[in-house]
């Protein structure tokens, strides 16, 4: 398996390339529109062919490259059926399994940051298990629960019931990091995550998340409608605030 972590400095977003080096089939997870050329060039350089694109959720801070990649390559785009992005070719439910050559990508519903958040377990023969956690679980942190359909109790349950049950040595690859971390493990986050780890129960987590006082994501009114149109801005609905976007004044 080829596994590559790619970074967008502007929004501190990680994109992942997962490929089977035997068959050449490749997938991109959480591509960023501004980096479509970089990502396609890498796929080509590695002798691969993009067959699938996955978004962990409808992002509020950047526009997905999914639609543009589909137009350029005929790759199949995937997002949760709860994401409100019917433009995707495949609307996934919990347990959906996609195959990229010999690599198996299993979608776990991990809502809480948004209703349609999914994590992807990446499994290939002879490889340590990896989970791409989107904004559900970050290195020593987690995604916000104060906009779109965010709900702290739901996020706590998702992480505990769907991610912390994976083997402790599973590598955790998040959709963002703001402090320079690139990877962690399930065991490490169970033990050390200050929001969701061993010392925090559901009630304390909900209280903590209510007390966070964060500014709204810079691109939310542009990004959410664009991402519901798979990143194709010209096909997006008007970008007025939607009922689901509870923004702080």
């Amino acid at each position: 398996m080829i596994f590559r972590q790619l970074f967008d400095k502007e929004t501190s977003t990680y994109t992942y390339l997962v490929a089977d080096d035997a068959t050449g089939d490749a997938a991109l997870v959480d591509p960023v529109l501004e980096h479509v050329e970089r990502d396609l060039e890498l796929v080509r350089e590695l002798g691969c062919r993009l067959v699938s694109v996955f978004d962990t959720h409808v992002h509020a801070d950047h526009v997905t490259g999914a639609g543009a990649l589909r137009e350029r390559t005929k790759a199949t785009t995937h997002v949760s059926v709860e994401g409100g992005a019917p433009c995707a070719d495949v609307e996934m439910t919990h347990g959906h399994v996609a195959r990229v050559g010999g690599v198996e990508i299993t979608a776990l519903a991990t809502p809480g940051h948004t209703s349609g958040c999914m994590s992807f377990v990446v499994a290939a023969e002879g490889e340590r298990l990896r989970v791409l956690t989107g904004d559900a679980l970050l290195v020593r942190g987690c995604g916000r629960t104060d906009f779109q359909e965010g709900d702290a109790a739901t996020l706590w349950r998702s992480v505990h019931e769907r991610l912390f049950v994976l083997p402790d040595d599973t590598l955790v690859y998040p959709a963002h990091d703001y402090r320079g971390f690139t990877v962690s493990t399930v065991g490490e986050e169970k033990r050390l995550n200050p929001r969701l780890g061993a010392r925090m129960d559901l009630e304390s987590f909900v209280t903590l998340m209510k007390r966070l006082d964060l500014p709204p994501p810079g691109k939310i009114h542009e990004a959410v409608p664009a991402n519901r149109a798979c990143g194709q801005r010209d096909r997006a609905a008007p970008s007025a605030p939607e009922p689901g976007l509870r923004e702080r004044s």
Copy 2:
């Protein structure tokens, strides 16, 4: 083995944590002064003890955390004997082998970006070979050769004679990336590096590097003297331009 890549967004610098999870011995490579707390906390959280610090070279764009880490932990600091940083505990020559628990770190002299540039081959049982290439070899690029003791022909020879002779599947971890790449392989760079790969001979490379017209690194007059004092600014010599710093007007 525990292997972690860490990032400094301001200077796009990668720091590496290498540790033996059985013994708990840990090393940091190319630590950045501003992230000493982050890096020490990670070492502690993983149940490790910092025993060694390595710099691939005397950096011109950021100040090393080596001296501060030594003061905080008694770790042994390492830099090339050609680096002009006699403050280091160990001044390495080509072929120097350091052991961090069961992990073997072999220093290869790879001058050209500076005279004292080294690359570190990281080997541990059951792990794919990794090489931390500093500024000698970047993903699809290389370090500059227009300041300090930079010399393009020397860099070309270093990369071809010391790095491109490693097994093709050796993972290449650079000291910087400016486009969001985190890792590559020796085989990939041999084939695809536009400066040093298959299509460039020594002469063309020297011509190309001469024609680059880059602004001087922002922190050069602060960073180089500070790094020659292992990052301990108060012990650094005055920061007037030195003869070795050939800056463009």
